[in-house]
Assembly symmetry: none
Homo-oligomer: 157 residues x 2
């Protein structure tokens, strides 16, 4: 999450994996704690790692047992419904990612265009400094002509 965006796949290097586990476990537990406090809800987290003999449990072994017992008493049907929700959650995330991607592409486009404009207006190659009204009007004319050509090409198709 930092210094470099991490690839969401199993970390093969054991040392790195262990470090990541410790850090993220702490972060996760902090989050549950906050959520529980802020919203006044019952919550429970259990993590099994091959690094510890005992699982990491929040808020406590007793608390976890209580919440788990409650969950176990749910009907299978209700549990099934929950699974569907899990899938829709996943779909939502994918959808969101796609939206972000689209937005990023548009932003990139804008940046590229700005770059092109600057390059042209500053006469990067053979042309001198074009930053005055006269030359801008010339450039505008050229572009409008291109636009006309394109429009007629489109109409012909």
């Amino acid at each position: 999450m930092a210094r470099k965006k991490v690839n969401l796949i199993y970390i093969t290097d054991e040392s790195t994996r262990k470090t990541t586990f410790r850090k993220r476990r702490n972060g996760l537990i902090k989050k549950v704690d906050e959520l529980s406090t802020l919203c006044g809800i019952q919550a429970c987290v259990i993590l099994y790692s091959c690094f510890d003999s005992q699982p990491s449990v929040w808020p406590s072994a007793d608390g976890a047992n209580r919440v788990l017992r409650k969950f176990k008493n749910m009907s299978e049907l209700d549990q099934g419904k929950r699974r569907m929700d899990q899938e829709s959650f996943l779909r939502q995330r994918i959808e969101k990612a796609n939206q972000q991607l689209k937005k990023q592409c548009l932003a990139n486009r804008e940046l590229e265009m700005t770059k092109v404009m600057l390059e042209n207006l500053r006469g990067e190659s053979s042309v001198e400094n074009l930053m005055n009204v006269m030359d801008l009007n010339d450039l505008k004319w050229v572009i409008q002509e291109n636009l006309k050509e394109i429009n007629s090409s489109l109409a012909a198709l």
Copy 2:
């Protein structure tokens, strides 16, 4: 956590509490998902809120049940039910790869359009030659955007 550092006490305003719950629940679930994937560990989260009739469970009812059994030292495993979650994650990864591909394609296209645009403005090419290079509609869009830019530059002068 943003715009203002939040006070870690129960949120009395119901509307705010509900919003906070939804947001933080999503964040939390994402975190467990990541931790589980990155470190290859078993994990489980259960959240009870007064906003939903059903508790929010991760990774799924089956997964939660499995962790529950383990928590109670009743280790009986049925790997088959894990398949559901694995499929979800697989779909997610494929989706991600597709997104990357899409992004690259758009980037390439953008570069090509920029090149074409530069060639045109320098009079090294004509619109007729562009038919095979790219979608005319895309070119039209780029040009129109440039025109807007020029007009605002003119207005500014």
